[in-house]
């Protein structure tokens, strides 16, 4: 039996196909303006890529912030529940998931079966998310993909005290004019993101092992800073951005089995 999961995030749309508890294939592309189209497109591309027939897909679960715009999905499930299931699939030992995406950051405590026990997410403000890092990368004229590597060379991370993305950007600009090194500034930005997320994680209560997912997990600088702040080892999901889609496909399979 094949099932599909589609995760429509604020920046990227992801799809995953699962057959008998085995990952058949995944796909990631930009969401763009139209979330509905993005869901259809990402699944079609994945079908073409894997050679699976549309009729073979027994059930589709959508997730992510655009989950309700995927009108052909059989069910919409929140990304928090899906991330729990996805993290459990990728590493069954996982008991805590830190998911940092384009505009959301979430911390999720899960049980031995991947079911959500408790969670918290950011509200009102995108500090400590991927968007924050994007704004900072723009201010520094650096490529976000290089952030992790650059920050590893920092001698003395700069302190970024503003929580607000807009104010933090001006803070970075004054640091630039003071001649602070790029390495230190980027490391400081990572620490600032890590502070936000670790405070939220502590409120829920961290249980090890911890897995990090979402686009920001691809930035080793943030992962390092977060591990240091929380004093835990953080395992990065090999499918960081696809974790939600994989979880959705798994939950679809579970629904199909229960039916």
């Amino acid at each position: 039996m094949i099932t599909a999961g589609i995760d429509i995030g604020s920046i990227t749309a992801k799809a995953a196909l699962i057959e008998d508890n085995r990952l058949l294939g995944t796909r990631l592309q930009f969401t763009g303006y139209n979330a509905q189209k993005a869901g259809k497109a990402v699944l079609e591309e994945l079908i073409a890529q894997t050679g699976v027939q549309r009729e073979q897909i027994a059930l589709v679960v959508s997730t992510g912030y655009g989950r309700n715009s995927v009108d052909f999905a059989d069910k919409a499930i929140t990304e928090i529940t899906c991330h729990g299931a996805g993290a459990h699939f990728i590493d069954p030992e996982t008991r805590f998931v830190i998911d940092v995406g384009g505009q959301d950051s979430k911390v999720i405590k899960i049980d031995a079966a991947g079911k959500v026990l408790d969670f918290a997410m950011n509200d009102k403000c995108a500090a400590g998310t991927g968007r924050f890092l994007e704004v900072m990368a723009r201010a520094m004229e650096a490529d976000l993909d290089d952030f992790g590597e650059i920050s590893a060379r920092a001698g003395n991370p700069a302190s970024i005290s503003s929580i607000c993305t807009v104010f933090a950007e001006s803070e970075v600009i004054s640091l630039i004019s003071k001649g602070e090194t790029r390495e230190n500034m980027i490391a400081g930005i990572h620490e600032s993101v890590a502070s936000r997320i670790s405070a939220m994680a502590r409120r829920v209560g961290v249980t090890e092992p911890v897995m990090m997912t979402g686009g920001v997990a691809r930035n080793p600088g943030v992962v390092r800073a977060l591990g240091k702040k929380l004093r835990v080892e953080i395992r990065v999901s090999p499918h960081a951005q696809l974790n939600g889609a994989i979880g959705a496909a798994l939950l679809a399979a579970r629904m199909q089995q229960a039916a």
Binding site: Y65, I77, T78, E79, I80, T81, K115, V116, L117, D118, F119, A120, M121, D123, K124
Partner: protein
């Protein structure tokens, strides 16, 4: 107008209701902010107690007087006083609860320009040997101040009468809650919330007639309506002014079956004794014995135990905390309440709210996940 439409229209525009009703009845109106305001005494004085719930509009004028870290109830309340939307009030009473309400009292007295202003400096510790007598003294002082200000007398008989009126209203509200708990599908998700708002703002005799008529029209055994197939949750916190929360929760798959909100069950909790030598002492006893709000103290863990008991008694699967942003007393209570719930194996969700409800998408993600978390 049938009762439900009446409640709905009062909820929709409490100020408009008060203005018109005051014209018809000539009854003077005293505003209050908190479930510790001794409204039985206000009622006994022939006045109409009117619960102030902030504003649904923008806060502009109040921010000239208040720091932005005051809660939206305080900021919105002052805004309404300053922008003229409470022009029907003859005054307001401020019971001693949190710091913000106390300071609001001063700012209000100096800037709002209403004819009358009262402070009721109630005890904070309710379990000390002198607390009960202190409470009685404060209530008597307020009774005297009210009588002097409005040139009337508040006899013991009038207080007994008011106690009877309030007991009867509170019994009806309890019946309403019990009906919803037994069969959540009997009402639209936000109906009980709207009725509770009406209970605190409507002229009380009219409210009593309307709630009676409403309850008479409810068929508790209405076929098929009772079981919604949704999960049962309890709300905890201070005030809730957002009917959307009930509707979105229902959409996410959960019914609110009880609460400990001061705009909810705390309002009708506790019956006042209708006999005894002193009606004010009887009144004081209800305020002393009711489950405490975090701005009062009695027995360090009483509130948490009451919450756990409520969840079990109501067979609810979890608790949703609705905390007003910047409400210190509730925020300080939250960690220990959550710890008690965790230890009892009761899942909970924390939601910070302001005068405007949070964005729907965010709210639905939280609610749906929380409902997924609750065991079947």
């Amino acid at each position: 107008m049938n009762p439900i439409d009446r409640f709905q229209s009062v909820w929709h525009d409490p100020n408009d209701y008060a203005r018109k009703r005051k014209q018809q009845t000539g009854r003077k109106i005293l505003g209050y902010f908190c479930s510790y305001a001794p409204e039985e005494l206000i009622h006994a004085a022939g006045l109409w107690p009117f619960r102030l719930l902030g504003t649904r509009g923008e806060v502009r004028m109040a921010d000239t007087h208040l720091q932005s870290y005051c809660c939206s109830l305080v900021r919105g309340g002052l805004e309404a006083a300053l922008n003229g939307s409470l022009d029907f009030l003859d005054g307001a009473v401020f019971p001693h609860t949190c710091d913000s309400i106390q300071r609001l009292s001063d700012i209000w007295r100096l800037n709002a320009g209403f004819a009358h202003h009262f402070d009721a400096v109630l005890p904070v510790r309710l379990d000390s040997p002198s607390a009960r007598q202190y409470m009685i003294d404060v209530l008597n002082e307020f009774r005297q101040e009210l009588a002097d200000a409005f040139g009337t007398e508040i006899s013991d008989d009038a207080v007994w009468q008011a106690i009877g009126d309030y007991n009867r209203i509170r019994e009806k509200l309890r019946t309403l809650y019990e009906l919803r708990s037994r069969a959540p599908g009997l009402f639209d998700p936000s109906t009980v919330h709207r009725i509770m708002t009406a209970a605190m703002v409507m002229e009380r005799r009219e409210f009593f007639e309307q709630i009676n008529a409403f309850l008479e029209g409810v068929d508790p055994d209405a076929a098929g309506l009772g079981d919604t197939g949704r999960k049962r949750v309890v709300l905890s916190g201070g005030i809730c002014t957002h009917p959307d929360i009930y509707e979105l929760l229902a959409r996410a798959g959960a019914d609110v079956v009880w609460d400990d909100l001061c705009t909810g069950a705390r309002y009708f909790e506790g019956r006042i004794a209708e006999d005894g030598p002193d009606p004010v002492a009887a009144l004081a006893d209800r305020y002393m014995e009711r489950t405490v709000c975090p701005a009062k103290h009695r027995d360090t863990t009483a509130r948490a135990r009451a919450l756990v008991d409520m969840v079990r008694q109501q067979q609810a699967g979890g608790v949703i905390f609705l905390l007003l942003k910047f409400c210190d007393p509730h925020a300080f209570d939250y960690p220990y309440l959550k710890k008690f719930l965790d230890e009892a194996g009761i899942p909970s969700l924390l939601l910070e709210i302001e005068e405007q409800p949070p964005p729907e998408g965010q709210l639905m993600t939280r609610f749906e996940t929380f409902v997924d978390m609750l065991s079947d």
